[in-house]
Structures are given as structure tokens and as C-alpha cells.
Amino acid sequence: MRNKTARLFQTAAIFALGVGGGTKLNLTPQLKRDASQATQVVHQRVDNESVHTITLPHDEPLFGPGPGREEFITACVVCHSPRYITMQPRFPRSTWLSEVKKMKDVYGAHISDEQAAKITDYLVSINGKADAGNAPRGTYGE
């Protein structure tokens, strides 16, 4: 029941977004029906406390351009906030690479080896530090 309600709200939000942004959305009959039901859900929430709903705030940092940014946005941010990067201390490339591999091999992120290398480049550029060994010092602005 949660998924259904969430879907209704999401549909309503998409609907509102489309209208508010001036974008013409081509709503299917199903989407129109969902949007109409979503309005009813909002009313139910007011009238009947048995439906408990919250709206999560979004407060995500914006990162500047850099090599690998597109891959980072596509592969990482689809599942979690970029704050998972910014809350970490600066790590060397080897640590970031192992984190990317962990996301790919263990958590199930869809990342090719080529993308993994680019994402690692980007993570090092925004929150990296020199490896004790072979990492180029100064390149990533420690």
C-alpha cells in the first residue's frame, strides 16, 4: 500500500512539475487517473489520520564540472545523495577505487570498468588526497 500511495504522489508531483514548468506532458489515461486519485489521497490524509505521509526534503550538494562527472551522476546519484561523498574525509585514489568497486560488485550498482575508472577520477578530484605511494601529488588539490 505504501508503494501505491507513493506512486500516486509521485504522479501528482510529475503532473504539477509538468504544468508548473510549462512543459507539455503527454498524460496517458492511466497517468491522468493516478493524478486524480492522488488528489483524493491528499484529502484522505487530512480527513483520516490512518494514512500517515511525509514529504522528504532534498538538500543535495552540487558538484562542479570535471572528468567523470557524467558517469558519477548517472551511476551513483541515481541511488544515493552525493553527500555520501562529501561526508567522507579525503581519501586516496586506492580507497575511492575500492569504494566504487564495492558499489559495483557488492551493492549491485550498474557500472562498467571504464565507468568505474572515470567515477574514481571524479571522486578523487572532489574529495581525494595523494596516495602515499604512486598517486600524482598536487594534481587533485590536496
Binding site: 505504501r2 500517515h52 514529504t55 526534503p57 543535495e60 562529501t86 569504494e99 572532489i126
Partner: protein, 396 residues
């Protein structure tokens, strides 16, 4: 609005739209070494923001001046992006199934009216509480001491539910799943398990109330598993499914995640990682300074109150010693009343700094069976921090 589903929809229209959608919601530029960022989530007060999606929110230490951590300030930690944001109590059911004779589908009203209510005061602490203090630093939620809280939990014992469902002979484990869902089909759903004996010990319970009120949505509304004395990873939020298993439970979150070195206090050498690991389980003994807070200024020549909390996995805190000279000399603090063996216990000491200057304060708890805090500790995941607490303060 559900961002996961939003992204999935928008993602279908291409990467350019995806990037644009991200920009649309980016309100704050990323400051990599910014001070604590306070944020307010629904039904919560201002908390320290670790991550916003899924939310990880840390409790500011001053809330630990209260024995029971207020619901609106209780820490939040989710694993999967798809966290529940709406629950309809008319249709919500707790499903009990698997190796049982009578599968059950229970509404929250059923739990409230057809089972004997039980209450317990218990600490819930994240496995990675205090992770940011490990050296060398380890990746993960960079918590300070605020991924912990103490609350009165009211609900129904898991034993009474399993008895109602009539567990068949040969049950081994019981798994617990919540309403949160993975962002991709390839990501493992967050499900945890306890042994059948642990689940039926009469203490493990399902809470429908926290400090006598409904749980905030981000703390697990409408039901949360309570596993007294065990780390928070087992306290499944928005609990919707209990499955009794005739074999050992196995999944990513048990087999690969939340494991500790199979060594005393879960410690290993960063240069020589432990080969064997086991699932994280009971709390070790630890204390937390509540007052003063780190880097706070105190007054020389007059008594200052030192205060904190200490807890373990249920043996009870017998002693908390305090040092005001960096560990050279120690004195017993005054222990507050016991609120239950799974509650934390308050400790206080009075301290008059003779001179102005810098002081290192330390606190060391000992439990009822003589276990105490560690002097050094490290593991790759940053779990189970219990090094003797220390804070630096200035006396003026």
C-alpha cells in the same frame, strides 16, 4: 515526492534530463569540510545532516542530557534509497509466515488490542556510531557520538507473535523485513535475521510506540523491531514481514555487511586484516561525555559539573571513572539510578579546575561483569567504537 521513482521516470528520458533534474534540486553547493550542517526532516527537530538520501541524521549531544532521547531528536539511519514515506494503517499488515502452522496478517490495531503490551527502556546504537574517531579513517557514515539514543519502547514481544503463529519444529532463524525497497533490482533488499532462540527470548519485541508516542516515519513508523543490547542494524524499521526459516538465513546484509573481525572487541590491525569475520552482535561497554562538550570553555576556581551516559549489552554499568588530567589519576563518578538493564545510566562528577588552561577529560565505564572500555581499537568498517572517552576543554 519520491525522488527514487522520480529519477527512474526521468531517467527513462535520457541522461541529459537526468542531469537537469539533479540540478533542479541542488540547493546547496558542496562544501567539503564544512561545520556540522543542521537539517530538519519531517517529524524531527534540527539534526546533524550526514546524508539526505537516504537520510542519515545524527543527534546533537545536548539531547543526551535527558534520560530518554526525544523522538524528534532520535538518530536516523537508512540503507536504501526507497524509504517509506506513506503508510495507510487501514491496509498495513505485519505478515508472519514461513515455517509456521498459522501464518498471520496483523494490523497495528491487532497488535495493540490482541496482544499483551510490553515496555522496555533500551539503548539503540548504530554499529558505526563514532566511526569518525577511528584512525586511520575508514569510509562509511562519519558519525561522531550521536548515532545512539535511549527510549522507552512499547509493543508486543516477538515470542507472543511467534507463539500465535505456531512455529513448526526445526525452525533455525527468523528474518525481518521492512517497507524500504532497493533503488535497483540488483541491490539487495535490507533484511536481517535473528536465531529462533534469540527471537523467542521474550525481550526481542516489536514496538508500535516510542516514548509513548507513535514512531516518526523516519524512525520506522508504524512498527520497529527492538533487539535490546544489540546494535541498531538488527532493529528493522517499518517492519512488515517476519519469516520463520528452517535453515540459516543468508543474504548480503548478513554475509557481507555488518561483520566484525572474529577477535576480542572486533579489533584488527590495519596492516594485517583479520581473516575470519562474524556478524556484529552485542554492544560492548562504552561511555559518552554529555557535558561539557568537546572544546567547550569551563570556569577555573569553581565547581563544574561533568556528566555523561554509559551502557553495555545488558549486564549493567557498575562504575564510571573520570580523569581530569589526561588519564594520570582517576576518580569514581556518581552513578544515576538504573532505568533498566538495557537503558543507559547517567553519571556525574564535580570538577574544580585549579588553574586556567587546557585540560583533557576522560571517562571509563565498567560493567557488571568487569568488562571495560578499550585503550586502542580499529577495524576496517569502523564498528563498535568503545575507546575510553576523552575530550579537550579550556578553563578560563
Amino acid at each position: 515526492m519520491d525522488r527514487r521513482e522520480f529519477l527512474q521516470l526521468i531517467g527513462a528520458t535520457g541522461a541529459a534530463a537526468l542531469t537537469a533534474s539533479c540540478n533542479r534540486f541542488n540547493s546547496v553547493s558542496g562544501a567539503l569540510s564544512s561545520p556540522a550542517n543542521l537539517v530538519r526532516f519531517p517529524e524531527k527537530t534540527e539534526m546533524i545532516l550526514l546524508t539526505d538520501r537516504p537520510p542519515q541524521l545524527e543527534t546533537p549531544i545536548h539531547y543526551f542530557r535527558q534520560d530518554l532521547t526525544p523522538n524528534e531528536a532520535f538518530f536516523v539511519r537508512w540503507h536504501l534509497e526507497g524509504i517509506p514515506t506513506s503508510v495507510d494503517l487501514r491496509t498495513f499488515r505485519l505478515n508472519v509466515s514461513g515455517h509456521v502452522r498459522k501464518p498471520l496478517q496483523l494490523s497495528v490495531d491487532d497488535l495493540r488490542s490482541h496482544f499483551e503490551p510490553v515496555s522496555i527502556i533500551a539503548v539503540n546504537q548504530c554499529s558505526g556510531n563514532s566511526r569518525s574517531f577511528f584512525e586511520p579513517r575508514v569510509p562509511g557514515g562519519q558519525w561522531k557520538n550521536g548515532a545512539v539514543g535511549n527510549a522507552k519502547w512499547t509493543g508486543v514481544s516477538v515470542k507472543s507473535i511467534l507463539d500465535r503463529a505456531q512455529v513448526k519444529a526445526g525452525a533455525v532463524d527468523v528474518s525481518f523485513n521492512g517497507l524500504d525497497v532497493p533503488p535497483l533490482p540488483s541491490v539487495s533488499d535490507f533484511v536481517k535475521a535473528l536465531s529462533i532462540d534469540h527471537a523467542r527470548n521474550g525481550e526481542v519485541m516489536i514496538a508500535y510506540a516510542m516514548n509513548d508516542h507513535s514512531l516518526p516515519m523516519v524512525n520506522g513508523f508504524p512498527l520497529r523491531l527492538v533487539v535490546p543490547g544489540w546494535y541498531g542494524t538488527y532493529w528493522v524499521k517499518a517492519l512488515s514481514d517476519i519469516t520463520v526459516l528452517p535453515q540459516a538465513f543468508s543474504n548480503f546484509w548478513t554475509d557481507k555487511a555488518y561483520r566484525i573481525p572474529n577477535a576480542p572487541n572486533g579489533t584488527e590491525d590495519p596492516k594485517n586484516l583479520a581473516k575470519g569475520t562474524i556478524p556484529i552482535n552485542r554492544f560492548n561497554v562504552r561511555s559518552i561525555f554529555v557535558r561539557p562538550e568537546p572544546d567547550q570553555t569551563v570556569h577555573s576556581g569553581i565547581p563544574n559539573e561533568l556528566e555523561g551516559v554509559a551502557f553495555d549489552s545488558g549486564n549493567g554499568i557498575r562504575r564510571v571513572e573520570v580523569s581530569t588530567d589526561g588519564g594520570v589519576t582517576w576518580a569514581d563518578s556518581r552513578l544515576g539510578p538504573e532505568l533498566g538493564k538495557y537503558s543507559w545510566r547517567r553519571w556525574r562528577a564535580s570538577w574544580t579546575p585549579k588553574n586556567r588552561g587546557h585540560y583533557r577529560l576522560m571517562a571509563r565505564a565498567t560493567n557488571g561483569i568487569g568488562e571495560t572500555q578499550s585503550t586502542a581499537q580499529w577495524n576496517r568498517s569502523g564498528f563498535m567504537w568503545n575507546v575510553i572517552e576523552q575530550i579537550d576543554v579550556s578553563a578560563v
